[in-house]
Subunit: 335 residues, 2 copies
DNA sequence: GTGAAAGCGCTAACAA
DNA sequence: TTGTTAGCGCTTTCAC
């Protein structure tokens, strides 16, 4: 590997002079600058950021920790994060927790050791608090994205979960549904709680009591036990509509219904929170509340970098990103 | 930040002893090991990989460069790459070139400077050769994935593009189609060339000459000029079927056809190379050739790490991953 | 089983 | 405008 010293020797100057040329800092005579630059090119010199990081105590790396890299929401979020990071001269180290605390923990340790300058963090659940505490102990700035964690003081970028869920539910109610199942994420995830609250809001608005037997919980990334849903469907007074708390669950549920020969929306209406990427372009079928996924990432990283630069002088921020309801064809009047 | 020296001082040992405990190397008495470990925990010590990288001349970081992070194929590939990397103790630095050479170049420079130990690289086009040469100059190992680059000697993990495209085309021919449009990627991308060759193979097999006017090219990630397709549709002897060279194009094409009121498959049959992620689960509609995306990433990273470890002693490898044809509903007999 | 010294490639701080 | 010195946090090498 070519080092600063190789350049320095060839150019007959000190290492500092070369360093100054590389960083455009300090006053350098045009002639030495030219000479050094020429030699740098000749030797294909590439600065060693490892060494620079060590002395500058910053890596210009950020970490993006998401819970499901195959979910189009997070993928688009990542795209936004990438753009913001690149614009501001940062690299992005990815991590994908699969909604698992243990994998999340591994990633946090990794990032700590890598000395990333900050993290954009979509926590797996409230129990992520433990990992976030670790970050605080080490004074590594982070911004929570998509999900909040009670008891953790931090900048957050969130969606309008409660009102969005209420709109979706109200829409089903307006169509005439009275028995609406909620297939939710786990109650230990803030978005699931908020979506549940919105669901209840809308029901209450219509004077309908909340029926516990209509609500079941799954991991956001896998519909692993169809029996839970099956039991809801076999209730004496079964649902005529399903509100899926996220896109992955919605898709699995529809596949499941299809497998049982249940037509959507003819025999069962389905709506969901978050759009489904390519699928909605291929076939605009699912009625959804769509979130500005790109902005989650873009604004999250901007906020993170702001935090890194201004440390404590910056007041704690909460950004709420608006969502949009898109009415398509997966919900109709009750059968 | 807590350093090895802080631990050493508190434990009344040398920095080397601490280092040895951390790395489980050398002989250490049980008692010192215990003492050092205890203090490490107390102080929440986390090794500084930046410093370690500097001396060891390795970062335990790999880079994954893909061309479209919102494409489910690459997303699933990334998932595989992540698993393989994590299993073998490496971190993954992501880059997304958007099929753009300039962005790719920026990433290559970044990765060079970051001193990643190797790259899994999905090149934007044949012109990526220039960037790959850069990697060779700096002796950074890389593995090409999904796409080959002529003139570049490297390990590669590729799909069965030619035979897969031939199968898809043969399927349309068997349905009775004789005028089949190919909406391809740019000819500067190896997969586009191979898929084109497969398309021609199948036509030739049926004694049908290749008609240049039925073939148009787009970037794999965007259907940016519908007029090009429109012109094909308005041919005196128009196509009755469309073969889309990738998933993103297929989805856009179908949306476009729908916009024109053209029913698929009633008025126009459509097939495509690569599956469409969630979309195919939501609605098993598109007839496709599906590639084992996860394996592309998983095997690519394994191969890369093999290459890193064994450098020149390892012979150059080419892995061809099988694809599978999935017949669904988007293609039928000619209208 | 443990330690001292040197150095990885770079830059901050101070000199000249 | 340029150079010298020291040190970032760790591991390699050699010594005991």
């Amino acid at each position: 590997m070519v080092t600063i010293y190789d350049i320095a020797k060839r150019a007959n100057v000190s290492a500092m002079t070369v360093s100054r040329v590389i960083n455009n800092s300090g006053r350098i005579s045009a002639s030495t600058r030219e000479k050094v630059k020429r030699i740098m090119e000749e030797l294909h010199y590439v600065p060693n950021s490892t060494a620079r990081s060590l002395v500058k105590q910053e890596t210009k790396m950020l970490s993006l920790l998401i819970t499901d890299i195959t979910n189009p929401f997070f993928t688009t979020l990542a795209r936004g994060a990438e753009d913001a990071a690149m614009e501001l001269g940062y690299k992005l180290l990815f991590g994908n927790s699969d909604e698992k605390l243990s994998k999340e923990r591994e990633y946090v340790d990794m990032m700590l050791s890598t000395r990333v300058d900050g993290l954009l963090f979509a926590p797996a659940s409230d129990d992520s608090a433990e990992h976030l505490t670790m970050l605080n102990v080490h004074q590594v700035p982070f911004v929570l994205v998509d999900r909040d964690v009670p008891g953790v003081e931090a900048d957050v970028v969130l969606g309008e979960n409660r009102s969005g869920a209420a709109r979706l539910t109200a829409y089903l109610l307006a169509l005439g549904h009275r028995r609406i199942a909620l297939i939710n994420g786990f109650g230990t995830v803030s978005t699931a709680r908020e979506r549940f609250a919105g669901y209840c809001d809308a029901l209450a608005e219509h004077g309908i009591g909340y029926d516990k037997s209509l609500v079941v919980e799954y991991g956001y990334n896998r519909f692993d036990d169809p029996d839970k849903l099956e039991r809801v469907m076999r209730l004496p007074d079964p649902p005529t509509a399903i509100f899926a708390a996220n896109n992955v669950l919605a898709v699995s549920i529809i596949a499941f219904l299809r497998g049982k020969g249940i037509g959507v929306p003819e025999q069962m209406s389905v709506v969901c929170f978050e759009d489904v990427g390519l699928a909605s372009k291929l076939d605009p079928f699912l009625t959804v509340v769509m979130q500005p996924a790109y902005d989650f990432g873009y604004k999250g990283v901007r906020l993170l970098i702001d935090r890194i630069r201004r440390k404590d002088e910056l007041e704690r921020q909460t950004i709420r990103l608006p969502s949009e309801m898109i009415i398509r064809k997966s919900a109709g009047p009750p059968a």
